[in-house]
């Protein structure tokens, strides 16, 4: 086949097998959502598989069997879910909200005509985009006071609020990049056409450029939400009472039997998967949909 084609275009004359030009698909846009969404849906069930196998594997190990471990987990599940996982979701929602608002401002700052604004926005974006989240969290936790005194009234700042603040910083920086990238993705011809119609810069940005790239920002934005949600267990290192912290406490209350580890952490893993997987799938779907238009 290959050699016949080579002959037909009179380029190569050989009886040896000819390496056909091959097509290397471009690497899929490396995002957490792609990775997650490409997992088959039954991954969720697989994640719970250890839960099912483990009991039999270690049945003979001691008096505290895996069966007991599961009993313990099932007793704790309502608590772990309502006080733990829902709290992770809450932290992620708040962080996303503040991160998005601040990120939008910062992103627009990055394309400002005023040089100090642009430079500062750029610097803050790079700073928080390229720092480990855990380090940011620790700094925020240690730097923020645990209470404010305003007019003699003491306002306590609970740790989870600090965690929200800490997590919203990297989100802010990444949203800032999304906004900047989206605005720059609109051809300059659109700016010029609008300028020639006597629109002001503000009007061009808000009425013409942003409406065009808004949709394009949604998939990467959702991608960061999934990443953020998966990062909320970091808060357990700060002592915030989310699912991982509570799981540890629950295991402690059950006398720290090593058999507890797999069921409890698998449960946490499963919760995150069940929450983030649909988001990842939706992200990919929207990405495809919006990639066709425009």
């Amino acid at each position: 086949m290959a050699s016949r084609r080579a002959h037909s275009i009179h380029r190569i004359q050989t009886d040896l097998p000819v390496l056909k030009p091959f097509y290397v698909p471009p690497p899929a846009y490396a995002s957490a959502s792609h990775w997650l969404a490409n997992l088959p849906p039954y991954t969720g069930i697989l994640l719970f598989l250890p839960l099912l196998i483990w009991p039999f594997a270690s049945h003979a190990a001691g008096e505290f069997t895996m069966f007991n471990a599961f009993e313990a987990l099932f007793n704790w599940i309502p608590f772990l879910f309502t006080s733990g996982f829902l709290f992770n979701v809450l932290i992620s929602l708040f962080s996303m909200l503040f991160g998005t608002l601040a990120g939008a401002v910062l992103g627009l700052g990055q394309i400002s005509k005023i040089s100090p604004v642009r430079r500062t926005s750029w610097f803050l974006t790079q700073l928080f985009r390229n720092s480990p989240w855990l380090v940011i969290l620790f700094i925020v936790l240690l730097a923020l006071p645990f209470e404010f005194v305003i007019f003699g009234v003491i306002i306590a700042v609970p740790d989870w609020m600090k965690a929200v603040f800490g997590l919203s910083l990297p989100i802010m920086a990444n949203i800032s990049e999304i906004v900047r990238g989206a605005v720059l993705s609109v051809p300059t011809a659109q700016w010029e056409a609008a300028e020639s119609l006597a629109f002001s810069r503000q009007q061009i940005l808000w009425r013409i450029i942003l409406p065009q790239c808004f949709k394009r920002m949604i998939p990467p934005w959702m991608n960061w939400y999934a990443i953020l949600t998966m990062a909320t267990p970091l808060c357990s290192l700060l002592g915030v009472e989310e699912i991982i912290t509570l799981s540890r406490q629950a295991m402690e209350a059950e006398n720290n039997h090593p058999e507890l580890l797999v069921p409890f952490y698998s449960f946490a893993l499963g919760m995150f998967f069940l929450y983030c997987y649909p988001i990842a799938r939706l992200t990919i779907r929207l990405e495809r949909k919006y990639a066709v238009k425009l």
Binding site: A193, E195, S196, L197, A198, R207, Q212
Partner: protein
Amino acid sequence: MVSWTEKDPIVSIKDVHKSFGALEVLKGVSLDVMKGEVICIIGPSGSGKSTLIRCINALNDIQGGSIHVRGIDLTDPHLNKLELRKKVGMVFQQYNLFPHKTAIENVMMAPLLVLKEDENEVRARARDLMKKVRLEEKENAYPGELSGGQQQRVAIARSLAMSPDIMLFDEVTAALDPETVKEVLVTIKDLAQDGMTCILVTHEMGFAREIADHIYFTDNGVIVEHGPPETFFTKAKDPRTKDFLSQIL
């Protein structure tokens, strides 16, 4: 107010120099346009035609010489670009319609947001303009649903909605199929006959000959030759003009 009367040129370009970095693109260009006149700028690719007409609505700034539009000095550091652009419409080769708005919204947007005119009045005028460019049945189509020629006519209507005094056309038919070129040219011709001052960059020699009051030939950043179409096309003197015309005609 700026003192300008209809006896003065509506666009007056004097010895304009324009550089992009070290590259000098306009090397002393002068031309005057009277109100109601139609002028065509022709010349080889890269000779600075686009750059020149983009200077007229201050999309490009200039490094030397002067440009006056209706008496407004474009080299004034306090130039109000928005006021200038309300008077100068521009149509681009790539149409550049706003893809998220329908045809009629594209036409209505600037009068509504820039001139802050009444919505009903603007809509009525936009409808008239859509009729004028023969697209009244495409009012609610999005740019992506229109052919190139239709998009370009919407783009013309969009500029006209601002009721400009001068229209700039930068190779507006260059991206179109030969069949659709005509519909756009007819639109421009209607405009010219209505007395609109038009400055066109074009490669359509037949059209230029038919419609222009004056033709300018640019090469390498200077105006090599100019004149009314009859003399320009038949009695060109400069070898560069002759060479260019022989290639094109």
